[in-house]
């Protein structure tokens, strides 16, 4: 029983991380109807920038993390304003293919700049842990969870309490009406994508601290983000949290019974079950976006 509780706790901590990661993916999909297949590579960019900053420039993690976020924010803004805006509100297929091509280009760039070596940051948090109710919580996981939750709250605050958030939500409901209301929609799209990028950057920084990564590792993060968003329901912050935690817990519980090779597949199996039973996801109700097809 103790073991199960520990595993569930690990799953919840992991799930918080997954949730935060998925938000960057979800906001772009929800607002612009764009599934960004290059999301994982943007996370990798964040990881690399963090690693550069910490290892080569010697900055503390607390500074490196916002740097990574800023880098990916700018990358996202430039990409959207420069390229993707031409595709906004175009067909679903086209943006999928486009972001797939973008992903290939980004992977190659990461390869060129950083080589194919698998990297990670040396133990930033150490292996220490503390205990709650008899369960062990590594500092690293706890910190990641805390940062992830902080980001989630930050996004919630941005969307609901700031004029920019107002503009983003309005655009997600009806871009033409938003234009008529005085919102500069292309600029909003660019900022939304940039915010998604920034979240990817933070995620990347967190990845760098605890996992190993390489230019090709991004794929799996994109897929997990996809799964979390579909599980929790598009355009819903609470949905992303629930979806993320559900995925984390299910993945961890499954490792009790199945080989580790099935880990990712379990998430997908869960995805299939949810899609067949309740396509809108667990939260169903849209929060900042229409459930577009």
């Amino acid at each position: 029983m103790q073991l199960v509780a520990q595993i569930v706790l690990n799953g919840v901590l992991l799930g918080g991380f997954y949730a935060c990661m998925a938000l960057g993916f979800s906001i772009v999909w929800g607002v612009m109807n764009m599934v960004n297949l290059a999301y994982g590579s943007m996370i990798m960019v964040g990881a690399y920038v963090t690693q550069l900053a910490v290892l080569h420039v010697g900055l503390p993690l607390a500074i490196a993390l916002p740097m990574a976020a800023l880098a990916t924010f700018m990358l996202g803004y430039a990409l959207q304003r420069g390229l993707l805006n031409r595709l906004a509100e175009r067909s679903v297929f086209m943006t999928l293919i486009f972001t797939f091509g973008l992903n290939m280009a980004l992977i190659n760039l990461n390869l060129l700049l950083f080589s194919a070596d698998v990297r990670s940051l040396p133990d930033v948090f150490g292996r220490a842990s503390f205990t709650i109710a008899g369960l062990s919580v590594p500092y690293s996981r706890a910190t990641i969870f805390a940062v992830a939750m902080a980001m989630t709250l930050g996004l919630h605050a941005l969307l609901n309490w700031t004029p920019l958030g107002n503009a983003i939500k309005a655009t997600s409901f009806d871009p033409d009406a938003a234009r008529l209301s005085g919102i500069d929609v292309p600029h909003v799209y660019a900022l939304t994508f940039a915010i998604g990028g920034a979240i990817a950057g933070v995620t990347g920084a967190l990845v760098a601290t605890s996992y190993s990564f390489s230019p090709f590792a991004g794929e799996s993060y994109t897929m997990k983000a996809f799964v979390v968003v579909v599980l929790g329901g598009l355009g819903s912050i609470p949905g992303a949290i629930i979806g993320g935690i559900l995925l984390g817990v299910v993945e961890n519980l499954a490792s009790l019974f199945l080989d580790s090779g099935y880990r990712d597949a379990v998430g997908f199996a869960l995805l299939l079950v949810v899609l067949v039973l309740r396509p809108r996801g667990l939260m169903g109700r849209r929060f900042f976006a229409e459930v577009k097809g």
Partner: protein, 331 residues
């Protein structure tokens, strides 16, 4: 009736389009059949690859181009076909029965899972098919007793020299390619295909006008699965070694997707055009720009989407008047 009158009747009757395409296909087939003696092993292999991808692209085209359902996980059928055929050959079956062993489970899966997944649209359908692929891929990787697991499966060598094997693979794919063209013509010109296109443009309206949408979608997916699975089976025989990460690779599906888009969605020859263009680009990039080949491909794909939203055929169709005017200037 004279031959020319008959010909005129065919050329203008309701089947004219199909016959024209069939004629073009026949010419293509003839060319493909006589090419091998003139090609070195390298070019033969390249052409075989082009044909294989054209077939997979046609399978994608059937679902995404004609019916409008982006089956990104279609590669699952390729993998099932590859493993089924490989296992059958290892068990001593001949080629034809082995292909069946690969194709039938694939078609069955499509028919079984179709009613569940085809209720989803757009991105959701895409991710569902990807999920399906991941699950089957994980099974293939972990049921080592059956499939050899993640380390893969080797096939016993076929009879004859490497050159013989290459030719056999080539002709196998030529035949399959012919079948894919037939499927394309069927989808484009038949009533069934009309139903597919109706679903793509407005599913609710299609439903309202009496199209049995679920049945049409399921059958289309099954046909797509069959085609893709046989390609997988032939592939397994061709390369002699398969592993899950190779034959269940999502990149194959997406590449196929880009190919038919580039060549022209919902057309008969689009997949071939797209495959020719992309495979050539890939091979060129690989041989000359190894370190940059992903970048080149990625940028090409992005450019294609930006510049050619209707694909190559659409581009040509739109600019044909200009080209003709330039070619034959008014005096």
């Amino acid at each position: 009736m004279t031959a020319s009158a008959l010909l005129a009747r065919w050329a203008n009757g309701p089947w004219a389009g199909s016959l024209r395409s069939a004629a073009i296909a026949a010419v293509l087939m003839a060319i493909l059949m006589v090419l091998p003696p003139f090609l070195s092993l390298y070019w033969l292999r390249l052409l075989t690859s082009v044909l294989m991808l054209a077939v997979i692209a046609q399978g994608m085209n059937a679902m995404a181009g004609f019916v409008g359902y982006p089956a990104f996980g279609n590669v699952v059928f390729f993998g099932i076909g590859a493993y089924g055929t490989a296992l059958a050959i290892a068990a001593g079956f001949g080629m034809a029965p082995a292909l069946l062993v690969g194709a039938v489970p694939a078609a069955t899966l499509a028919l079984a899972v179709g009613p569940l997944l085809l209720r989803l649209r757009g991105h959701y359908f895409a991710i569902a098919t990807l999920g399906l692929n991941e699950v089957v891929s994980a099974l293939a990787a972990n049921l080592s007793g059956l499939t050899g697991g993640a380390a893969g499966l080797s096939l016993p060598l076929g009879a004859g020299t490497a050159s013989d094997a290459a030719q056999r693979a080539y002709f196998g794919f030529v035949a399959l390619f012919a079948a894919s063209l037939a499927l394309g013509i069927f989808l484009r010109d038949s009533r069934f295909g009309y139903g597919c296109r109706a679903i793509r443009s407005n599913e609710e309206a299609a439903e309202a006008t009496g199209v049995a949408t679920l049945r049409v979608k399921s059958i289309a997916w099954m046909l797509s699965a069959l085609l893709t699975a046989v390609a997988g089976g032939l592939y397994a025989r061709w390369v002699g070694f398969i592993e899950p990460s190779l034959v269940f690779d999502m990149a194959i599906s997406v590449k196929a997707f880009v190919m038919f888009l580039l060549g022209g969605a919902g057309t008969v020859f689009g997949p071939l055009i797209g495959s020719l263009l992309i495979e050539s680009a890939t091979t060129l990039a690989w041989s000359h720009l190894l370190k940059l080949h992903l970048l080149v491909l990625g940028v090409t794909i992005m450019l294609v989407v930006l510049v050619l939203p209707d694909g190559a055929q659409g581009f040509v169709a739109r600019h044909w008047p200009t080209v003709r005017a330039w070619w034959r200037p008014r005096s």
